[in-house]
């Protein structure tokens, strides 16, 4: 009973502080909305109508179907259909198009069991276009191969012209995973904005939770406010528990308001279960709160806290696939992405919000996040320094 009262006070205090700092309260919601607007509209434009050229070296129903698929996708703006691969490459080099999609000469020959190799020459000097074309094209052909039943269509070679930084030999499975999203874009009506919103919300919660814990643990320790609580007969678990619940209430609330805002302001459609989306928000928030507690458990000031979390949270923002699909990044970043919890939050939120995935589809994400959360909490609580 008395512990409940203490926890209620910790929640009440944090909410009162927020309420009494109107600018802080406003920027809490303004920040993610500005991010969505800036990136969503700033980048959304370049993702449609990327000029490409298609090189067909055979004729037949499969080629026709492929052409229809490419043309039907708003990502591509098919400038020309030619037959000479070298000319296609030249067009990329001269900047007329961003990519040349070169179909092999045995493309329409169903009797030919040898490998069918599609080559895409990409202008990798335009990072953004390249980063979108590669996975989208990969996915497109994956879809085509499934639908049309070309079993042998397995390998895609991407060669880049101007700059050789395009991921060659990217793990095929990875690409397939990421492409699902872009495929949906082809056949559903998903824009970059839809892609961005779940991850921006994930990222906002990350920063909110981590910095928030820094403020209410490291900051309060520094200002002696934590000492005031520990002066009373109150256990570490009550204080830490109260702080966790308080932050969780705030950040989940913020996540829900942001989702509503995204629906109202940007016309986002949530395809999956709203309930599951909210549960994922809570799980993500818990995980990041745990991270915040782990770091703030032993540091004595907010400054120290910031110094400790910055090297982890800033890269997390860029590597965890908030702005681009992870699979478009260099392999080393991809490996790093898999050890960052934000990656799993983004993946799960996107799967539910965009593809309408259920728990069965995202159970790996959930298990990994639960694991991170348990680890952070265990370390945070055992390491927590009661001395103030």
């Amino acid at each position: 009973m008395s512990e409940t009262k203490k926890i209620m006070w910790m929640i009440k205090k944090d909410l009162l502080v927020l309420w009494r700092h109107k600018p802080r309260l406003i920027s809490l919601f303004l920040f993610p909305i500005i991010m969505i607007t800036l990136f969503g509209y700033g980048m959304g434009g370049t993702l449609n109508n990327v000029p490409v050229v298609v090189v067909e070296q055979s004729q037949g129903p499969i080629t026709d179907a492929t052409l229809t698929a490419i043309k039907g996708n708003s990502l591509y703006n098919v400038k020309d259909i030619i037959t000479d691969p070298d000319k296609g490459k030249q067009m990329v080099q001269s900047g007329q198009v961003k990519a040349a999609i070169i179909l092999p000469s045995n493309y329409d020959n169903l009797n030919d069991t040898s490998q069918k190799s599609i080559v895409v020459d990409v202008d990798s000097s335009d990072q953004l276009a390249a980063s979108v074309i590669i996975p989208a094209t990969q996915g497109l052909f994956n879809q085509i191969s499934n639908q049309i039943g070309i079993q042998e269509l397995q390998t895609l070679n991407f060669t880049s012209t101007s700059v050789a930084s395009t991921p060659q030999g990217t793990n095929f499975q990875n690409i397939l995973n990421s492409i699902n999203l872009q495929i949906n874009k082809l056949y559903g009506n998903i824009t970059y904005l839809d892609f961005l919103v779940p991850a921006i919300i994930g990222m906002t919660i990350l920063f909110g939770c981590v910095f928030g814990m820094g403020e209410i643990i490291a900051g309060e320790r520094e200002r002696g406010e934590l000492a005031r609580l520990f002066m009373t007969p109150t256990s570490v678990s009550t204080v830490v528990g109260g702080k966790i619940i308080s932050k969780l209430v705030q950040e989940t609330g913020r996540g829900i308001i942001l989702i509503v805002a995204a629906v109202l302001l940007f016309g986002i459609i949530i395809n999956g279960s709203i309930m599951l989306t909210v549960l994922l928000l809570i799980l993500g928030a818990l995980c990041f709160i745990g991270f915040g507690i782990m770091i703030s458990a032993r540091v004595s000031s907010q400054e120290d806290f910031m110094q400790s979390v910055m090297p982890i949270t800033m890269p997390m923002m860029f590597v965890s696939g908030v702005f681009y699909p992870i699979e478009t990044m260099p392999w080393i970043f991809q490996k790093i992405a898999y050890i960052l919890p934000l990656t799993y939050v983004n993946d799960a939120l996107r799967a539910v919000m965009l593809k309408g995935a259920g728990v069965g589809d995202i159970w790996i994400d959930i298990v990994v996040l639960l694991g991170f959360t348990a680890l952070f909490f265990a370390l945070g609580v055992t390491q927590f320094n009661r001395d103030v």
Partner: protein, 363 residues
């Protein structure tokens, strides 16, 4: 339970640095104990250990009858603490802060409300109860902090430099409060730099320096020790002078032994107990001075002007009586009278300076 606080080799180390070194103190129940020491001496660290805010590196202590290492929560129930820096939530109002503390001590709602009102009235902060703490002046903040620390009616109250930077009126309010709390039977531990405050309030004093307890006594006891030490120091110095002079006389066979005897006599008189007496007499005149000059208990008139006379007198109660009655019988009109004892400040300076020298020797 005879002692409010007892420590047993209480020690706190920060890495290699020893902030508090094997502290042994016994503080009587229902006393006001002054804890003095220069900045960085280890006062706050000691108080934090006693209030179970930090763990001792070694040693332990009993506070309010409970062991600080094994029963910290029992200790916490019994004590209150006003920290050196006000640590209330700046974005909450005074009343909210007080209620928050009350709930953390598990007070029932009716007690919480009645005590908050009572205490806020007592220290005169109720008029600002709905202001955010960050908007208050230093003195008001300190009052709010005191209210928050008293809400659970602790047996022992720790005050860490509570009156620093406060105006005289606010200081007075806090001093009165300390005396009132003490008269209700509570023990007060007062960390302070303000010698006047300590002298005014405290029954016992501990002086800590470089983490070591350098002196522990009543204010009177400390001063007496100091007077004795000063006298011993003076007399050894003086006897050295006499020795040298005697040797000089032997060697050079100085004839003027009268002059020598005079010096020797002077030194010996000085070594008798002398203290300074300063009297304001509105009608001080030559006649009065002559009379006073004849009194045997007055060793020397140090200075005098139209209304004030300062003299070195024998340090006994009779000598003061004698001088006063002499002034009165000669028609003197005394407006004020003061003797100069060594102040607590002198004791403080001497104890901390001495220990610093010793500390250097040890290293």
């Amino acid at each position: 339970m005879k002692y409010a606080i007892e420590t047993f080799d209480l020690t706190k180390k920060y890495d290699e640095f020893t902030a508090v070194d094997a502290l042994n103190m016994k503080i009587d129940n229902n006393s006001i104990f002054g804890f003095l020491g220069p900045n960085g001496a280890g006062k706050t660290t000691t108080i934090k250990m006693l209030t179970c805010l930090i763990k001792a590196t070694s040693g332990t202590g009993n506070v309010a009858g409970y062991d600080i290492t094994n029963n910290p929560n029992e200790v916490r129930e019994k004590i209150g603490m006003v920290p050196q820096l006000v640590s209330l939530y700046g974005d909450l109002t005074v009343r909210e802060n007080v209620y928050l503390c009350a709930d953390f001590y598990g007070l029932p709602t009716d007690l919480k409300i009645s005590r908050a009102d009572e205490l806020m009235e007592l220290v005169d902060i109720k008029y600002a109860q709905n202001k955010l703490v960050k908007q208050l002046s230093g003195g008001m903040k300190q009052k709010a902090s005191v209210v928050a620390s008293l809400i659970h009616q602790p047996d022992i109250l720790f005050l860490d430099e509570p009156t620093i930077g406060l105006d005289p009126t606010t200081k007075r309010v806090l001093w009165d409060l300390v005396e009132e709390l003490n008269s209700e039977g509570r023990t007060i531990i007062l960390c302070s730099h303000d010698m006047y405050e300590v002298e005014l309030l405290c029954d016992g004093i501990g002086i800590i320096n470089n983490g070591v307890l350098a002196a522990f006594d009543t204010p009177r006891g400390l001063k007496d020790t100091m007077i004795k030490e000063q006298k011993e120091l003076k007399s050894t110095k003086d006897s050295n002078v006499i020795k040298i002079m005697e040797e000089l006389r032997k060697e050079s066979s100085v004839e003027d032994s009268a002059a020598f005897d005079k010096i020797k006599e002077n030194i010996e008189i000085r070594n008798r107990d002398l203290k300074e007496l300063s009297v304001m007499i509105s009608n001080l005149d030559e006649n009065m001075l002559n009379h006073l000059n004849k009194l045997p208990s007055i060793h020397e008139i140090v200075e005098h002007d139209s209304g004030r006379i300062v003299m070195d007198i024998e340090s006994s109660d009779e000598s003061v009586n004698q001088i006063i009655s002499a002034i009165i019988t000669n028609g003197g009109n005394i407006t004020s009278i003061a003797t100069k004892d060594p102040s607590l400040e002198d004791v403080f300076m001497s104890v901390t300076a001495k220990k610093e020298e010793e500390g250097v020797d040890n290293e």
